[in-house]
């Protein structure tokens, strides 16, 4: 059980900076997601927590102890690799017992521990099989077994479901989350799949180009993105961006788009220049009386909802509306934006603080 604190951590490979001065805190028992596109530094960050890479600068605290320059074996952590990395020359039982043997645990105790873990994961029948012939899911379970058998302070997982079939991934994700809830150990989980991150995580860090873009609860990040990158990366389809030139004063409750005004949550920060108004597709409603006009280009049917693509003066926009609403391609219609769910971004792509999002964004 452990709290992990990352302070100003930085990693350079030669002239390439993989992680730039990142800081965040993982609370004890949290299921924590490191999310970002490939090459964003999330795996490097995880490997630095594990001790497989040493940071160029910065500090890592596991349970209050500074470990950034310590070898992996002294950090009391378990790592689950994307490719499982089961020792191929050993059977399932030996694979799972390997971390215990290295601690010099007596044989009888190792046997009991392994049986117990196998029971939890439902792989008792596989214990004496070689790892070579196992299915992807079973190999994943063995890799998990090897991780949990030691009762480590925390689990680090590098896209553990990435090598599984889509169908099985869903199932394994549930199993993993249930396992975490049962063990209560801090888990740090790397993924590039935003759905997986939202579905499983207590908290998410979104990284891009080695920089932490935002960190917080999934719903906070979804509703109140700190940057246009986060707004675009999370959510499918992503947030709509309406680009306009203008200015907003602190305390404003509406912004002037060309020719009409749009109500927004009361702003706290002023801004001027090439601003961006962001709104999630589910907060765009079709309403003939609204001044913002668009022509319906396409409608994707998704069961209970449909995604309607509209051509507007600000480029294509998407609205997620009920499937019961009939739409006709080519029709002109009005778009009403839910004033409670709008985020304004400054010219650098950072969200402007408003009364709605400052609770989420004010802490940094």
């Amino acid at each position: 059980m452990a709290q992990i604190v990352i302070k100003n951590i930085r990693k350079e490979f030669g002239s390439f900076t993989a992680v730039q001065s990142s800081s965040f805190t993982i609370e004890d028992g949290e299921f924590f997601m490191l999310l970002g596109p490939s090459g964003c530094g999330k795996t490097t960050t995880l490997r630095m927590i594990a001790g497989l890479e040493l940071p160029t600068s910065g500090e890592i605290f596991i349970n209050g102890q500074e470990v950034s320059q310590k070898p992996a074996s002294q950090r009391d952590i378990a790592f689950v690799f994307q490719m499982f990395a089961l020792y191929p020359h050993m059977n399932v039982r030996k694979n799972i017992s390997y971390p215990l043997v290295s601690q010099g645990m007596p044989k009888a105790q190792v046997k009991a521990k392994v049986e117990e873990v196998a029971q939890i994961l439902g792989i008792t029948a596989l214990l004496d099989r070689p790892v070579g012939g196992l299915s992807g899911g079973d190999r994943q379970r063995v890799a998990l077994g090897r991780a949990i058998v030691r009762n480590p302070a925390c689990f680090l997982m590098d896209e553990p479901l990435g090598a599984l079939d889509a169908e099985f991934r869903e199932h394994m994700a549930e199993e993993l989350r249930a396992l975490h809830d049962r063990m209560g150990a801090t888990t740090v989980y790397v993924t590039h799949d935003q759905l997986e991150a939202m579905q499983m995580g207590d908290k998410i860090v979104v990284m891009n180009h080695g920089v932490v873009e935002q960190f917080g609860r999934p719903q906070d990040i979804y509703d109140w993105p700190a940057t246009t990158f986060v707004a675009n990366f999370i959510g499918s389809p992503p947030m709509n961006f309406l680009r306009f030139d203008g200015s907003v004063a602190a305390g404003a409750t509406e912004v002037a788009l060309s020719g009409h005004s749009v109500a927004i949550p009361q702003t706290v920060q002023p801004a001027t220049g090439a601003l961006i108004l962001g709104v999630r597709p589910e907060n765009v409603h079709l309403d003939d009386t609204a001044p913002l006009r668009g022509r319906i280009l396409a409608a994707e049917y998704l069961g209970t909802t449909q995604i309607v693509t509209l051509d507007t003066a600000y480029g294509p926009m998407k609205a997620r509306i009920s499937s019961n609403t009939g739409v006709t391609l080519g029709d002109q219609t009005g778009l009403r934006l839910d004033p409670r769910a709008i985020t304004l971004f400054d010219p650098q792509g950072r969200a402007l603080l408003s009364v709605a999002n400052q609770r989420v964004l004010a802490h940094g």
Partner: protein, 312 residues
């Protein structure tokens, strides 16, 4: 009749079969001839036309392992009847056995030098290859090229400098000298071969072991080495074949204490006429260790032990 793109047709199978059998005959015939000659009598071994069918004799093997000298018929009669079967063979030619030949010692020299240098090449090659594969070695590519460049000329081209050097160092005709020499020649091959094999082993295995609480050396020893067994086995076979069969340096640098079997076998011809069966017997026995070694390690050459453990 159904056709498949991937399966060979009947005719292709026949052609492949004929090619393989032809190749086997071409390569195995000299071997069969040597083994057969070892069991012929000297007259049979030089008979013309060559005898394919003959009554086997152990004369060659007796001559290989013994020193003999000719005695007068009177002395022979005085000795009384032969006491052993090999005495009986020798006495047909008015000869008596005076003691064992040097073949045993030379064979033992070959074993010490061959396996010693093989062990050393593979041991040094494995740790060097591991370092090249896993660590940031300054000038890595240049070093690897330099190592390979030692193979760009035939080793015998440097025979004279090596001979002079060995004379200064007192390594002439010593086991250590020959082991060092064969190791030096084999090392580039072993580093390159093993680097290829170790590169193939995913680094995650070692990382998993490091996290499981092992030191880097333990991770190397317990995880990498078993994975590299296939590569180590095949490298060892190549190194042993070279060291075992090497002739030119052995002739040049050894004459007594450390002489290996290859330069010794031809000298058998000189003692008591052209004794081809003894030479053939020496060559036949010389084949055995390397055949056994290869057969023992064969399963490592064929088995893909990492199959399925890492999903690529």
């Amino acid at each position: 009749m159904s056709f498949s793109i991937t399966d060979p047709s009947r005719r292709q199978k026949w052609i492949a079969g004929i090619l393989v059998v032809t190749y086997a005959i071409v390569t195995l015939l000299p071997l069969v001839w040597i083994i057969a000659t070892g069991f012929k009598t000297p007259p049979d071994s030089i008979a013309y036309p060559p005898k394919v069918f003959f009554s086997p004799s152990l004369e060659g093997y007796v001559n290989l392992f013994t020193s003999r000298s000719r005695v007068t018929p009177e002395d022979l009669a005085a000795l009384g009847p032969p006491t052993t079967w090999y005495d009986a063979i020798v006495r047909q030619y008015d000869m008596v056995i005076t003691g064992p030949s040097r073949y045993g010692e030379r064979f033992l020299n070959s074993v010490i030098i061959g396996f010693g240098s093989t062990f050393l090449s593979v041991f040094l090659g494995t740790i060097a290859a591991y370092a090249f594969s896993r660590f940031k070695v300054p000038l890595k590519d240049d070093l690897l090229f330099f190592i390979l460049s030692t193979r760009m000329m035939p080793p015998i081209a440097v025979a004279i400098p090596i001979f002079l050097m060995y004379r200064q160092l007192g390594l002439n005709d010593t086991h250590l000298g020959m082991i060092l020499l064969y190791t030096a020649v084999n090392l580039s091959l072993s580093v390159w071969l093993l680097k290829g094999f170790i590169d193939e082993i995913p680094i995650e295995y070692e990382e998993a072991a490091l996290i499981d609480g092992y030191t880097r050396f333990q991770a190397f020893y317990k995880v990498v080495l078993p994975q590299a067994a296939t590569g180590i086995a095949s490298t060892a076979i190549f190194c042993l074949i070279f060291a075992w069969n090497e002739y030119a340096f052995a002739v040049l640098l050894t004459s007594g204490d450390a002489q290996t079997a290859p330069p010794f076998i031809p000298t058998i011809i000189g003692t008591g006429g052209k004794d081809w069966p003894a030479v053939a017997a020496g060559a036949t026995l010389f084949l055995v260790p390397i055949m056994v070694f290869t057969i023992l390690l064969r399963k490592h050459l064929l088995r893909g032990i990492t199959f399925g453990a890492v999903r690529k």
